[in-house]
Structure formats: structure tokens, C-alpha cells
Amino acid sequence: MSVRSAMWIVCLLVIAVPVTFANADSTDPFSRDVAPILVKRCLECHNERDASAKLILSDKSAALKGGESGPAVVARDPGKSLLIEKVRSGEMPPPKRGHSQKLSPAEITTLQNWVSAGAHWPDGRKLDLYEATTDVRGGRDWWSLQPVRRPVVPSLDITAPSKSPVDAFIQTRLNELGMQPAPVASRATLIRRLYLDLIGLPPSYEEIREFESEPAPDAYERLVDRLLASPHFGERQGRLWLDLVRYADTCGYERDQEKPHAWKYRDWVIAAFNSDLPWSQFIIEQLAGDELPDRTESSVIATGLLRLGTWNDEPNDADEYKYERLEDMVHVTSTAFLGLTVKCARCHDHKFDPIPQTDYYRMAAAFWAGAIEPRGRELLGGPTRDELGFDVMGWTDIRQPPPLHLLRKGEHKHPLGVVEPGHLTLVPAIDRPLEPAPLGAKSTHRRRQLAEWIALPENPLTPRVLVNRLWMNHFGSGLVRSADNFGFTGDKPTHPELLDWLAAEVSRREDSTHSGPVGTATTHKSAMKSLHRLLVTSFTYQQASLHPQQDLYSAQDAGNRFWWRAERRRLDSESLRDRMLIVGNDLDTRMTGPGFKPTIQPEALEGLSRKEGAWKPSPSGEQRRRGVYMFSQRSLLPPLMTTFDFVDTTLPCVQRPVSTVAPQALALLNNSFAHERSAALAERVQREVAESLTKTTDLLDYQIRRAWQISLGRDPSNSEIEAARSHVRQQTARFQKTLQTPASQVTRLPETGKVLHLAADSGVQTDSEGRVESWNDQSGQSHHASQTVAAHRPLLVKNAISGQPTLRLDGQKRFLKVSGQVVTSSAFAVFAVVNDQSTTNQHREIFSNWNGGAGNSGTSLFLGMTGADSVRLSDDFSGVGKVMRRSEPFLLAGFNGSTGLSIQQNGTDLAAKSQTLSPRNLKTDYVIGQQGNIDGEYWHGDIAELVVYDRELKETERQAVTQYLAEKYRLPRQVQQPPRTAIQLALTSLCHVLMNTNEFVYLD
């Protein structure tokens, strides 16, 4: 059956389901028959606060009185009752989205009969929009709002494989359906699953083997305990929480300022999970850590939760923006802790859940005393350091808040009545008025009371939402699939009793006495970790992801709602990145501190409105830290991460979508990160095999075996070894051709096609002031360079670069003219050893044939720089790349030819593309040190050597020239050299393939 037809069946079923009212079994015909229709179909627009046409239908006298058009109900006279007239004509309820909402004939008859019979309406009976769930909205009797009752654990027959209560609930349901659970997964699968699920890292091959051969019956449980105690546990679980609270390190919007100390909040979260902070305290510190009597720097850092939202320093309307910020805080609080969509009630009573509009403002009032009003931009929407008491990012009350008005349609320009601070009213049993702040308190204590209300053991939502999310994180989906929405439009639990049993465990396991703040010695019971333990030690968790009856069961339950197998999962962006780092022994496991910035391709920086200095990657060592420590800049999330569904940081995200698209394959195939990791893995394989091997026969087989062990944690099959061997041999042969001459053996410049070679150590004629009159070309092509005007001559400086001389240009119109046409073909290579002392961000050229009116950037040939540190090559590369340490000598090289256009610094690509330059006008004059005869764009810095080829250079030749100049001028190597031999490259190719396999990316 198609989804569509299934949907229609659902619609019909929904409509057919009778409305169950709390008092539906009453014999009173009004409550039984009439009230449900009025509540469901009329009350949304005709209630006391929002009385459309001034008609109120929630109590008897108002209904009899009627609205603007007259009495709605005239007892015993349906003909005069406007209510009957309007519903019969279909005028009411009004159409929605062009669809008639006309009452059914049966409903109309019911109303008509009621009026005819005297319109009996029991005294004092007031109708309430949310008094009971109907088929259009949830009421206060909605399942998730009912008290958590600890159900009896079903007893299972003795064949059940586990004694865990979790399994008792799951298996009972499976038994009822006549289904069997999948067999237990292999030990290798289990250890991988546990590692990645609990700490986000894979186990090593050795750990897997050890676990497989571990004879102790409690080996699994001991492994679980070890992982729960690992500091990586907090990193993994913390990241999931950071998604939910829209964590990022910057504000977003135009300036996208960094939020100083945001990372301290991230570290607080990680520490909270590692120290097993009780959930109640986790809630209270994040919402009101500043209001605690024993507040500490740590508890104030926790309030950073309220500061994590986007912040616009230039909102369209500063007054309106206050309410946007309130909404953000209400939204994150209600989503993260309560699984409710409270923000929907900002503009009107919630359409689907029992949250009147006043409730939204009652809750919002908790944040109204903070730094909501516009203040200095430098505060980024938060309190000052003094107000906070610590140099951290946090929240605190800074004022006696003015009254908060309910806003018509949520619009700040239409304030209605004042709303007193309070709690949501959807669970009347725990509703209680807020108390005034204690005498002498610095804050309103509204947030603290909100937090305590959320953390009440009697609050039915908090523990349900919590255990459901734990379940979702471990099992792949929640018992309530919509983990961020426990309301009417969300899903109902697949196993309501199990959900409640787990929810009851939260308060049972949590010590009621609070411990100290995070990081201090704690004495509480290990409640949260014990819940994790409870879930992952269940048999249900340990099932295989494949079932002997896979096809049959999939046809019955494709969504695996009955948990008859484990869910296979794809690694998230951080876990994948961490895994790629760890297999090459590259992962830096340092915890805490400011986030690192990964290298981002220059092309990806083009989306920024301010390119200069917008993104400074961290040193490469820093970049090898775990993904959870990556800096999140809202205007520039790293493409490698977003491609793999890294979270959108603007709204709370309870579970990331998992998409599978071609750009992911492109990234893992081509991104330099993937290649660096593959090379690291290949090196590790070579090294470890060389260290352990005494003989050299079958070396390749050992390497292949080791590559499998490290990357996939297992030994390869014979057919895999065979395929890998054949791959490595083929690739070796292929790469041998590519690398015919190893670059390291060449220290001479290739001569063929060399059309210009100027070196400051020979052929330089100076004038009496030591300024360069002429510079002789050593290429044999007589493209000598010269300057006849003394004021334009560069200075010759001896011992300038590693003992070598250089020509020094000071940006004051110094340049040289080159004689003759240097380049004649569309394929060329230009090498220049220079440094750049420019203090402006203007264009500045090293070598050019620009010719004023006759040429332009679209037709001329030039190599230079622009901006602070980016390069330009004939404007096909204009302001790209990022020159490192430009004030120190470096080699800048531009290439054009059949493999495309590229530009390198010290032999490393700054930018490259597969297409060649469009045809150039190569006949105009060539100059060194400015754009051409346009008299501008002067170089400011040294030019020590210039080599130009009038043909395409092979890779090995490029390396040779690079090597020659690098040795001569002792230029730095920026990156670790890629493996050089063909066999190394071939092994890297194999490792690269292994990192691309489904086995590497999916978790069974």
C-alpha cells in the first residue's frame, strides 16, 4: 500500500474515533453530546479572550446573550438561533485553506435537537478549549501530561534471553505479535557498537580481539562500565546535548561575532556528563545557575544555555527583537527539557496542545529580567562581566523587570493585558504560583522556580522526555519517535509502559540531595550513567541488526517500532572525522579549551561578505582534536561537516537528519582531509609492519592485512586480500609512470622551454646607488630586464635570503621592463621567489604583461597578490588562496596546461581547477614588479629569482624546480610531503578506498 492511501485510511480512522471526554460517560446529554462539538469546532474562535464577533460559547449566559449579530442560542427555537443558522449554512466554522469545515449532518442534528429540547446547559458548566482531547487537538488529558506511574514489569517465560525489565516490556509486545527478536550480535559488532555509541570512537583491532576471546561471563558489562567511566563518554553525550541547545561559537548575522567563552559552556556540558550530574541539577544550573545560593563560576557558565541563540546586533526593530529573543529562550527550554512546542503559543492559544497564549507569556516572564533590552553591541546581548560576577558567557537578571504584556498575534505593537509570571498550566496538579524573590535577592528567582518546576519529580514530561532521548540516542529512534514533540502532533510511544517504567527509574535512581557544582567532588548516586547502563546492557540493545526473518518482518514493521532488531546507523560527521583521524594515529585527545578551526578550502570562503581575515585555520596539530572541539561559526560551518549533516545551529535539534548524497562521496574521494588521513594510515601500516616483520617476503600481504585491521577492525577475507593486492599492484604500475623520476634526485632546472631565468646572484648591473639597471636573463632567450629611469630602480640587497641576494622593491614605483615576448603559448609555468611586505590590501604584481588599454584582466597574463594574503593569476584566480607567512621568503608558482590552472606556494596548491586559462594576448610588453604600463599595482617586497617556462611542465618537473629553489633559498615546507614512491602512493590508495567503504561509515 502506498503511503498516500495509508494516510487516507488514517484520516478516516481519526475522524471516526469518538471524542473521549473526561466526563463523557456522564448522563448529562449536554456534556455527552453537545459540549464536544462546541469545544472541538467553535471554541477556538469564540472563547473569553478571543471572542470572534464578540461571541463567547464557553458559558451558558454568554451563549444565550450572543455576539454582534444577536443571540446565538434561543432555547426551543432553532430557527431563531444564529448558531444553528450559521452551522447549517456552512458559514461556520469558516473554511480553512479553502477547505470547507462544515459540520457533519449528525453534528448539526445534535445541536438542533439540543436547542429544540430547551438548550439545557448545566449551571456552572464552563467549557474549556483544552478540557479534553478531541480529534483536532490535545487536552489536559493528553497522555504525556498524565502522571508517570511505574507499571508492573511483565513476567516473561523462562526462554527469554534476558532478565532486564527493558527486555520484558519489549519481548512481551513481540510475543503478542508473534514475532521473535533477532539473535544477539557478534562480540565484534557489540564492542564496535558500544564504543561508537558511548564514546563516539571505534575500538582498536586489538581491543576487539581481546573482547572476542574474553571468557568472563560479565565481560560485556565490564566493558560498558569502562566506557561509561571514560572521559570520552562526556564528549559523545555532550555533543548530542549541544545539538539540542543550538550550540555555536558565534552570533550569526552580518558580523557573526565570536561569543567569547562559549566553549566554557561546551566544556561544562562534557564535564556534567562525565561527572554524572543529576538531571535535576543539570536543569537547574543551566536555567538558573546564577540564582543558586552556592553559585560558582561553573554554575554561572551553565547558564550559557540561554546565551547560545543567534544574536543580531542590528535588528530591524530593537523593540520587536526583545520578543524574538524571549521566544528563543522559551523555545530552547521547552524543547530541550519538556518536549513541547510552547513557542507556538506566542501568537495565539496553541492549536494542538493545552497551552493557552497566556502560558507562553507566563513562562517567557522568567527571562524578562535579563539583558533583553538593547545595550552596547560589545555585550552581544548578554550581561556585563560585573553583573555576572565571572568572566564567562552566562545569563543573569539585571533589572527589576517591567510588566510583560500578552501580545495580540505575538506582535510587539499590540500589547494586551499584563501576564504574571507563572508555570505552564497543562498539568494542574503541579501548577503553583511563583513566589517573590527572597528578601535581598539580586534576581527575581523566576528562572530558578521555572527550573525547579521542570525538575519536580511529579513533572510528567521531564523524565519521559529524558529517557526517551536516551533511548533514541542508543537505539537510533525514540520510543516516542518525535523526541522533541510530546504533544498532539507528535508521535505516541510505541511502548508506553516501558517509557513510564524508565521515567519512574529517573527519580528512583536520582539522589534527592543535590551535590556540589560540576567538577567538585560529588557524592550522589550514579543515576544518569546507570540509566545508560540499563539501556545498553539490555538484550534488546544487543540484538543483531539483521534478523533471520528480515523480509517478512520488514513487511510487517519497516520502521522497527517493535524493536525486533538493532538499527544500522551511519556515523555522524564528528564520529566519521574522529574515526578517520584515529586510524592514522592522528587523533589528539586533549579535552577542554577554545575550539579549533579546521582548514577550509578557499573556494568555500567565498560566501563570506568579509573575506579578509574571516577564517584563520588553527595550526594543524590543533586540527587533529575531536570534532566536538571544532569551532562553530554560524556564517561558515565547515563544508566537510555540513555535507555529513552537521547540525544547523540556529534552532534546537533533537536528532540530525541522515542524508546520503553525492557531495559526501565527492568529499571522501577528493577532499584533502581524506587524502591526508589515507596517507597517515598508509604510513602507519608500513611502519607497524616493518617493525613487526623480520622477513620481507609477502610484505604486501602483511600490509594489506594490517590496513584492514586498523581501519575496519578485522582481518580481510582471502578474496579481499586478492582484490587489494591486485589494486596495489595496478596502482603501483600506474603511479610509477606518473613519477618516472623521483623529484629528490633532481637538483637541476629542466632546460627545455625555459624562456626566462633571472636570479639576483648573477647578471645584475647596478648604478652608483646600488640600484638595479639591468638583470640578465640566463635562459639563453635574451629576455633581459632593465630600468632606465633611476627613480624606478629596485635596490640590490646582498645576503638577504639565506645568504642569497635579492632585488628589493619598496612599493614606490620600482619595476623592470623585460625585453621581447616571453611567453608564446597557452601552456606555461611561472616561478618566483619573493616576499611580500605590503601594508595595503591592494593588487600588487610580480610578473605581468598587462597593457593598459590594449589588455585587461581577462586577456593578460600576470602573477601577483591581492588582499592581505591571497593570490591572483590572470584573474581566473582573483583573491584566492591564503599565503602563509607572506613577509618571509616563499616560492609562488603559477601553472597553466592540459591539467588545468593552478597556483602553489612552496609546492603546495593554494588553488587549482581543471580548466585552462582562456586565450591570452601574450604579445604586449612584460614587466616585473607592477601591473604593466598602467603605472600601478607595484610590488612591495623582495624578488630574488624568476623562472618562466613556455610549455606545460610535468608534475616531476614542477617538483624539480620547486626543490631546486626551495633548497637554494631554504624555503619552508608547509605540509608534510606526500608519500613519494609509487608503492607508497598505491598503499595510500588502498587505505583511501577502505575509508570510503560502507563498512567504515556504517555501524551494524
Partner: protein, 495 residues
């Protein structure tokens, strides 16, 4: 392929690329009040037959082409975003009264927010003369003398208004419907609703101005709460247009093919042991797709395949039209290849590098219109002669307009104006030679047939065959729409 077919759990196969949550299928349902809450109800206990469960997670490519809501002619959109906000009274909204009242203040009673607290000067007429264009005689100024030749193709909306006077918020609003960041952009909605006709290219492409990206960056082409597969892909108009198309030099195409062959074997063995692994099959398939993209994406921007005459038409190879001309020609090549939504930015970075003409309309618009006028005219000519104009909607406009008064005596610039501005559409079912709506006699604020940006969005979706009220995405308990609870299709500009 019809939409019904793609939602059918039976229709997926090896070509499927992604698991899609069932919430994504709801947009097509046009039910009444039940439709609002339908998604949540889908999964309620007891409401589902067992076959209902089985059909729950069909595996399809989110970008697979889908049928529209059965109207609309535009298969593709090219949105020419004039970043920084062009002045309406100097381009498409002729106000002769400004000549007469030149030098006088805007009459009292006209309320406005003076963005950035700049000097409020005096009414200033258009810096270049207006002349009628085409049969329709639409008045267009000399800043767009080449576009004017296409007046009979344009539906000019002169009564646009928006919610913000600040560039960042207004641009995000023009792209996503809201002044705050975090919502899916127009292109994401289009690709979500219709998929793409060519899976070897991104379905939603954004080409920025070389001078820089727009204020707020990424959120302008974000997919917000939708999966990232619907987000805009930044495309560079020369060389390798998208990220990660090439690996290191030694891994040439044949070497990479050898890698993919080994990968296919390893993945096949892995999948053989995991029957029913449609997720695994999907991922295997992305590698072949990626392999094709490596060749096809650069081909799409290879303008050497175009004749000299075509390049000339767009002003390529000439100052100052070369860059935008290339972008326009690339846009044509993309829609020709089935890309659903292309957005080109004119103006990037800040201030005078964009259309933000605070200092001088003549200098600023002279530069920016000079860069885009001929290329846009060339694009319209080229689309028409290739028979593409009818199915390609071209949209032109900025994030807001500019004031009819200067920024002080002798100050020839104009400040931001969200109260009234002009945009135009051409092709794709828009009625040519039309003007719609009016600003007041000063060109200060929209007064007749006002068109809010929600209405613009509703109209663009309508022209693509999507009903903006039915194109919903279920997110956190709510059927979200591009137009929120607003928006009316501007019937007056439909052909």
C-alpha cells in the same frame, strides 16, 4: 515520474539515494483541518494497519524530480539578486513629480524609519531619464537601456514592500521569508517540492559576486530545518564549480576508476551479508553519481563550448560586463541541464561594492547597472531564442528599495527603503509588458495592490506549479511553509 509514484514504497530501487522521513510527504496533502495535524496522527497507536508500518520509510532520492501541483509553467528559476538594494525611482518606477518637487522635503506625514540615522535630504528625481520600452511602453530608465528592449517580456511589480530596513535581515527575508536566520530558503523549498531534473548537478545553485558573499552568508541559501540535501550549492563560474571535484594530481581518472572498482567490490561483499540494506545501496550509488559529477559539473561552466556570438551577447570578454555575463551564461547552461533554481548575486561584500548607493546613485548604479544590464538583456534574448524562456522564470530585484530623497544637500545618494520598491519577473508564465501595483507619487511607499515579499514568494512558487499553502514541511509539531501563514499569489502578473 509522478509524485504518487515516488511516494510509493514499491518504487524505490538501486537508484534511490536517500532515506526520507515520512514527514516530507505531507506537503502534498490538501486536507482540511485534519491535514494540519495529520502527520502526528499518522503514527498513532491503533490507527495504522501493519501495511501502514511497512510503507513508512520508503527510500527515495530527495532530489528526484517530482510532479508539481499540476499548474505552472516554470521548470526553473533564475533569480537575479541585486544585493544592496537598487533604487526604484531610478530604474523601474518612473516618478515625474520628483522633477517638479526636486529639492523639497518629503511631505510631512510620511512616516519612515531612517535607517542608520543618516541625513534626510530632499526629493531628488531620477539620475537618468526614463523612456518607454517595447510595444507596452513600460517606463524604464537609461540605467537599464538594454533590459528596456525586452520591456514586453517583463512583469514589473512596483508595489513591493518588506519587513526590514537593514540589509542583513532584509536579504535573509527576501531569501527565506523571515528577517531572522534559520529558515529554509526559496530555492530549498523549490527543490524540496520539485526535485531536480539532473542528478549529476546540484538542484539549487548560487553564484556569488566575486567581490564577496552577501551579509549573513550561508543562511541566505540554507535549507534551515530541512535536510542539507536541499541547501543551495555555491557554484564558481570558472574552473571547478563545486568543492571537492578533484583529488591530488597523481590520482587521475583511471587511477580513481581503479579505486571505485575496488570500492564497489568491497561494498558489494559487505551488502551481500546485509540483505535489504537499501541505505547501503543508496550510498554505493552516490559514488557513481559523484564520478559523473566530476566530469559534468566542470562541463556546465565550460563557456568555450559557446560561440563567440553568444558570448558577445552576454558581454563576455568586455569590461565591465564580463563577470556577470559569464554568470548569466552559466545560469542558462544550468537550467538547460535541468537545474531547478539558480541565484546570481550582483554586488558582494559591503557598501559601494553592492548596490547600496548611499554616496551617489549615478556612480554606484552606473557601475552596477553597467555590469548587469547587457548580460541580463543577453540572457533574456538567449533564453527566448532557445525556447527556454517560457519554462524559465527570471526574477530581478534587491532586498528593498531606496528613498526618493537624497542624503543631504548636494549628497546624491539615497537611503534604504523597505516601504516601496520594484521587482520584475520575466518568462516562466509571467505576463510580459505588464506593470502591477503602485507606489505613491514620490515612489516612497507602496499604496496600490501592495505586494509583500510573502506574496512574491507565493507567486514564484505558483509559477513553478507549487501551491504555497500546500507546500509544507513538518517540523516540530507544525507544518511549516515558506510563507508562514501569509502570502497571496499576485494574479495580476500571471500570463
Amino acid at each position: 515520474m509522478s509524485f504518487d509514484c515516488t511516494t510509493d514504497g514499491q518504487s524505490h530501487g538501486l537508484q534511490s539515494l536517500v532515506h526520507v522521513n515520512r514527514r516530507e510527504f505531507v506537503w502534498e496533502m490538501g486536507a482540511g483541518f485534519t491535514g494540519l495535524a495529520l502527520t502526528g496522527m499518522l503514527s498513532r497507536d491503533g490507527f495504522f494497519s501493519k501495511t501502514g508500518y511497512a510503507a513508512e520509510t520508503p527510500s527515495i532520492n530527495p532530489l528526484t524530480a517530482k510532479a508539481s501541483h499540476s499548474f505552472g509553467r516554470a521548470k526553473s528559476v533564475i533569480f537575479l539578486m541585486m544585493n544592496g538594494a537598487p533604487s526604484q525611482v531610478d530604474t523601474f518606477d518612473h516618478k515625474p513629480l520628483l522633477e517638479k518637487m526636486s529639492g523639497q522635503p518629503l511631505p510631512e506625514g510620511k512616516k519612515f524609519t531612517n535607517s542608520g540615522g543618516r541625513k534626510v535630504g530632499f526629493l531628488t528625481p531620477s539620475f537618468r531619464p526614463f523612456r518607454p520600452g517595447g510595444e507596452s511602453g513600460l517606463m524604464i530608465s537609461d540605467f537599464f537601456e538594454n533590459v528596456r528592449k525586452h520591456a514586453d517580456k517583463l512583469a514589473v511589480i512596483r508595489s513591493c514592500h518588506t519587513d526590514s530596513h537593514a540589509h542583513g535581515s532584509a536579504l535573509v527575508a527576501m531569501n527565506t521569508g523571515k528577517t531572522f536566520i534559520g529558515r529554509p530558503s526559496l530555492g530549498s523549498w523549490a527543490v524540496y517540492g520539485l526535485g531536480t531534473e539532473n542528478e549529476s548537478l546540484p538542484g539549487y545553485v548560487v553564484i556569488l559576486d566575486k567581490r564577496g558573499g552577501p551579509i549573513s552568508g550561508q543562511p541566505n541559501w540554507s535549507s534551515g530545518f530541512m535536510p542539507s540535501s536541499y541547501q543551495g550549492t555555491l557554484f564558481r563560474p570558472v574552473g571547478d564549480p563545486i568543492l571537492d571535484l578533484r583529488g591530488p594530481g597523481y590520482l587521475d581518472r583511471s587511477a580513481q576508476r581503479a579505486q571505485l572498482d575496488l570500492l564497489a567490490k568491497l561494498n558489494a561483499d559487505h551488502m551481500a551479508a546485509r540483505p535489504g540494506g537499501s541505505d547501503l545501496a543508496s550510498r554505493i550509488n552516490t559514488y557513481e553519481l559523484a564520478y559523473r559529477m566530476q566530469a559534468e559539473a566542470p562541463e556546465a561552466v565550460d563557456l568555450s563550448q559557446e560561440t563567440k556570438a553568444t558570448q558577445d551577447l552576454y558581454g563576455i570578454g568586455r569590461h565591465p560586463t564580463d563577470e556577470f555575463g559569464r554568470n548569466c551564461l552559466v545560469a542558462r547552461r544550468l537550467v538547460e541541464r535541468g537545474v531547478r533554481f539558480v541565484q546570481l548575486y550582483s554586488g558582494g561584500g559591503h557598501l559601494e561594492e553592492t548596490w547600496d548607493a548611499h554616496k551617489s546613485i549615478e556612480t554606484n548604479h552606473g557601475q552596477h547597472a553597467g555590469e548587469v544590464d547587457l548580460p541580463i538583456a543577453g540572457l533574456l534574448t538567449d533564453l527566448e531564442r532557445r525556447g527556454l524562456l517560457d519554462e524559465t522564470l527570471v526574477v530581478w530585484g534587491g532586498e528593498f528599495g531606496r528613498m526618493p530623497f537624497s542624503e543631504g544637500k548636494g549628497e546624491p545618494g539615497r537611503n534604504h527603503n523597505p516601504y516601496g520598491f520594484s521587482m520584475w519577473m520575466a518568462g516562466g508564465g509571467a505576463k510580459g509588458g505588464t506593470s502591477y501595483g503602485e507606489t505613491d507619487e514620490f515612489g516612497f511607499e507602496a499604496i496600490k495592490d501592495k505586494v509583500h515579499l510573502h506574496d512574491l514568494h507565493a507567486t514564484i512558487l505558483h509559477l513553478m506549479g507549487l501551491n504555497h499553502e500546500r507546500l509544507t514541511y513538518f517540523h516540530q509539531g507544525r507544518d511549516e511553509r515558506l510563507t508562514d501563514v501569509f502570502g497571496n499569489v499576485v494574479e495580476g502578473i500571471l500570463a
